[in-house]
Amino acid sequence: MYTVADLRKGLKITLDGDPYIVTFFEFAKPGKGQALYRTKMKNMINGSTLDRTYRSGETFEPAHLEERTMQYLYKEDTNYTFMDNQSYEQIGISEDSIGDARNFLIDNLEVEVLMFKEKPIGITTPNFVNLRVTQTDPWLKGDTTGSDSKPATVETGYVLRVPPFIEEGELITIDTRTGEYSTRVKE
């Protein structure tokens, strides 16, 4: 059980049965009035936000969240299937909960799956993943447009900007936090 004294940015609590993360917190006290604790919170399942103000003495249920390491297996329609590395149990996660991570999911990639009440609510990919370029236009010597990058499509279908020297079939490292090109992988 948390009290208002525990409130801080990043705290995860359960509200109306859903997990929320505190994204803003401020102690406030109107003149001669009572101490108030203003918060903004984000629903960790659907991303909706809430403004709530609490008084001294109010309490909160912590959100019991658990991270499990799983391996990505395959996708069927909008459902992604993963296997728990410990129990070998297979679970499905909807595209909505996967979010932008879908751009970096290749077979057998190990990810951290965030579980709330035994239900997956989100995944975290490694900070860097290697993906193969499936399409990019060749760099023409004597290109005078002065552009220092060009679009490239990788095996997941994700499109990003890469340096002109990257060729089709090459393996590149992508920073999954920004979605940007990081380096070329020497094979």
Binding site: K29, K32, Q34, R38
Partner: protein, 307 residues
């Protein structure tokens, strides 16, 4: 590199703070005020439901110098001011320190409108010392300090910004929440605002308005959405004051807090206090506003966490 709690910007702010304090003292001495220095440790604080004092031995650290300064008014001092530290337990945030600097001043034979003029003169003088005469910069905006400042009643504030009338907010016990969330952030953004005429039940130590006892002659000064000062036309009727204290004391006990005995010597002397007006201003917040700081932490030498 040597660790220092004083990066260049903070060092500069502490130097500016000293200049502002000098300007404050000069302002009051020019107005004929006497600087006083009353004890920080007191045996019986004012019973206030929402202010928790810190014990010091069997006594307490003052949450404000109000008791001692009013006893000086009762003893015949007419215009007094004090710069001192005050302590309030559990108050910590962007605008709160559990130990903070207070500027408090009193005028006898005056009501709270006289304090509004003092505020205008004082903040203007302090802004001059801070290097921004006539204005201050806050959250990217520019706040003009040109006289006269604006006045808004609490009733009007609830009508304009609160989404419900003042009485309803009181009945539904939402007064503080609406004040903090919907009203305060909109006050004093272009020009400082005096929020005046608090409902009688929020009158604290203020006298009720002659001709309209539903409100008290109390104002709060807001600049850039920040509450800077609290002022009263002082209640000088010891019997009414005793009743209000007893009510606050009972509220404290109801909420499981310490119910301090009443400050009897203060109540005794109150009978001799002439009609007066008094105001308490958060000095750290004034410095913060004048120097464009976003947190009170940026204008003090050490925060509690740094000690």
């Amino acid at each position: 590199m040597k660790h220092s709690p004083f990066p260049a910007a903070r060092q500069q702010r502490l130097r500016s703070r000293a200049l502002i304090l000098s300007a404050v003292r000069l302002f009051f001495s020019r107005q004929g005020f006497l600087e006083v220095d009353t004890p920080c440790r007191i045996p019986t604080p004012i019973p206030e439901c929402n202010i928790d004092v810190m014990p010091s031995g069997t006594w307490f650290l003052q949450p404000s110098p109000e008791i001692c300064m009013k006893r000086m008014l009762a003893a015949g001092f007419e215009q007094i001011y004090q710069i001192c530290h005050c302590w309030r337990d559990g108050e910590r945030g962007r605008l709160h320190l559990p130990e903070f600097a207070m500027l408090e001043w009193y005028r006898s034979h005056a009501d709270y409108t006289a304090l509004m003029h003092d505020c205008e003169g004082l903040v203007a003088a302090a802004a001059g010392a801070a290097g921004t005469p006539g204005r201050l910069l806050h959250a990217g905006g520019r706040i003009s300090l040109d006289s006269p400042w604006e006045t808004l009643t609490v009733r009007q504030a609830f009508e304009c910004y609160g989404g419900m009338v003042m009485e309803e907010a009181l009945d539904r016990d939402l007064f503080d929440e609406i004040m903090v969330r919907d009203i305060e952030p909109r006050l004093g953004l272009d020009k400082p605002v005096f929020l005046v005429e608090y409902p009688a039940q929020r009158g604290s130590l203020a006298r009720l308005k002659p001709g309209d006892p539903s409100v008290a002659e109390r104002f709060e000064l807001y600049i850039g959405g920040i509450e800077l000062a609290n002022a009263y036309s002082e209640l000088s009727d010891p019997e009414e004051q005793r009743e209000r204290f007893a009510k606050e004391r009972n509220l404290r006990i109801d909420r499981g807090k310490h119910g301090h005995p009443l400050p009897e010597k203060f109540l005794r002397d109150l009978a001799d206090m002439p009609p007066s007006a008094g105001i308490a201003l958060g000095l750290d917040r004034l410095v913060m506003l004048l120097l464009g700081a976003t947190s009170i932490d940026e204008v003090v030498a050490f925060t509690p966490e740094e000690l």
